[in-house]
Symmetry: C2
Subunit: 342 residues, 2 copies
Amino acid sequence: MPESIEMSMPEKRKPYEPGVDEIVAGILEGNRRMLSRAITLVESTKPEHESKAHEVLDRCLAVKKETIRIGITGSPGAGKSTFIESLGKEIIAEGLRLAVLAVDPSSSRSGGSILGDKARMETLAAHPAAFIRPTASSGHLGGTSPKTHEAIVLCEAAGFDVVIVETVGVGQSEITVDSMVDFILLLMLPGSGDELQGIKRGIMEIADAIAVTKSDGTQEPLALVSKADSEAALRMLPPKHRFHERRVFLTSSVTGKGIGDVWKEIRDTVASMRRQNILQARRKEQLKKLLYSSLESMLRTRFFSNRAVHAMLPDIEQKVLSDSLSPFSGAKALLEAFQNRT
Amino acid sequence: MPESIEMSMPEKRKPYEPGVDEIVAGILEGNRRMLSRAITLVESTKPEHESKAHEVLDRCLAVKKETIRIGITGSPGAGKSTFIESLGKEIIAEGLRLAVLAVDPSSSRSGGSILGDKARMETLAAHPAAFIRPTASSGHLGGTSPKTHEAIVLCEAAGFDVVIVETVGVGQSEITVDSMVDFILLLMLPGSGDELQGIKRGIMEIADAIAVTKSDGTQEPLALVSKADSEAALRMLPPKHRFHERRVFLTSSVTGKGIGDVWKEIRDTVASMRRQNILQARRKEQLKKLLYSSLESMLRTRFFSNRAVHAMLPDIEQKVLSDSLSPFSGAKALLEAFQNRT
């Protein structure tokens, strides 16, 4: 009986789903569509995508290459996307390939309209040596997705020499991004009072360099003050790395001032970290953090897709809502169900 | 053999540990030492404290009382502790008992020395109707501990009519605190540009009212500008509750200006929410969130205290660090060990 019903149903065509081999081969060839697809797969929260995503990631992690990972952060309005566009052109001009994992402000609740963003990084996006992946910032504070580290791994396997991760300066996201990049650049709008806010929120402590943006025209005197203030603030903070002195740069995406200097600073610092084996040690630490963050996310996925948990959850939720069960007793009952059947 | 060794060991005196009945009885009598002890128990991350903490919480949750839960937030420097001290005196003057779950800035990495905080809320702390519990802000962004909701439950069972939760304005902590209080008050320092920062970081959206602080002496003209700016900003944002219009108050902890008005606004709004059954619905939603946050924290505790996981973890970590195992494969192996033996 069920069979005949099945046979009378119109045939559904599933969209073509490439397998692990095809995805990995595509990534290694530098196929952007396949890279995008793999990032989407890795970001998926569906339990059935998990093991496929991990097979792809395992094989991409095995590809070894010397790359540079840059985190760029700053308050909304500090000119992040314009700055990244200018810096990106500088990087590409050296013959390097660049991937940008960018925050998409239009997807956050109120950010889009207030910031008035139009198409971002247009010139860079059109360049064959660049790959730009916008990440919806809604839901994840500051726009780093919990899978940003994984996306970096995929971009590097696809042959990108430099990966830029953009975040919004709200504290937690910077600390997260510090666990996945080699160098953090903090952008500062002249006269915005960002220096003190940056210190208080712990962002300045994790910066490897600061770029004061929009240092052109009538803004120049303000920019000079911001530079002096930032330098004073940096002197108050403990050093991030013993071997590296944090510098403050005056930059302008209009005149191009300072952009080359910032790139040189990043490139030279990362090269020096590599020579001293500091970069390698840091990346190992980061892999360890990735082990723990993967563990937590997989554990959560397994728990909520567990059959017994799934069956009990609506009833327990109802009892908690009607005050006949405490949240703690409810949680305990669900955990016991999870651990009794594997 | 092992027995004789045990017998020859000098007897260790364990510090006296009160049982669940004794703790609960102490809390219900309003014994502060027992309340403090219970909060410490609940905040403990040791697996052996979990079930005792939950028994205490279950029994405290069963105590029903009409209380007011207030979240107070603002940038560092907005004058939170001085404001809370003034507001607290106003609340106590009405014969109500007040508990404050306060951020302790001296425990965060750089906050303490820069902010120059001395003893905070001294007068309030000395008052018999007040209970102040400082929470170390290090590790948890903005100072709400993952157990703040549980601490509120304990304070209410101990007979406190009003609970104030203080957070530092960094975004994530406000969104967390919104899931556990009835009313959020945003403090704003005159002329600090906090209005725009507040909008951008989503803090203003969750505020039920705004108090401009330090509106006295030479600061008054600036405070008026901040009030107008905040009112303009609020008009741009979607309403938080349909029934409630968000107001901006000028306040001074020096002259006492506006403090009574703020308290009246909070008390009347919460009373009106209660009459319309909105408060009850909101608190039920919050209990549901507490179910999920308890689940996640208990799941994590059980995982990392699992014998098989504990035994395998060092080896897997080592393999990930030496690049012979990917973090994803390592996580998978640990999860399988966890699920095979319960």
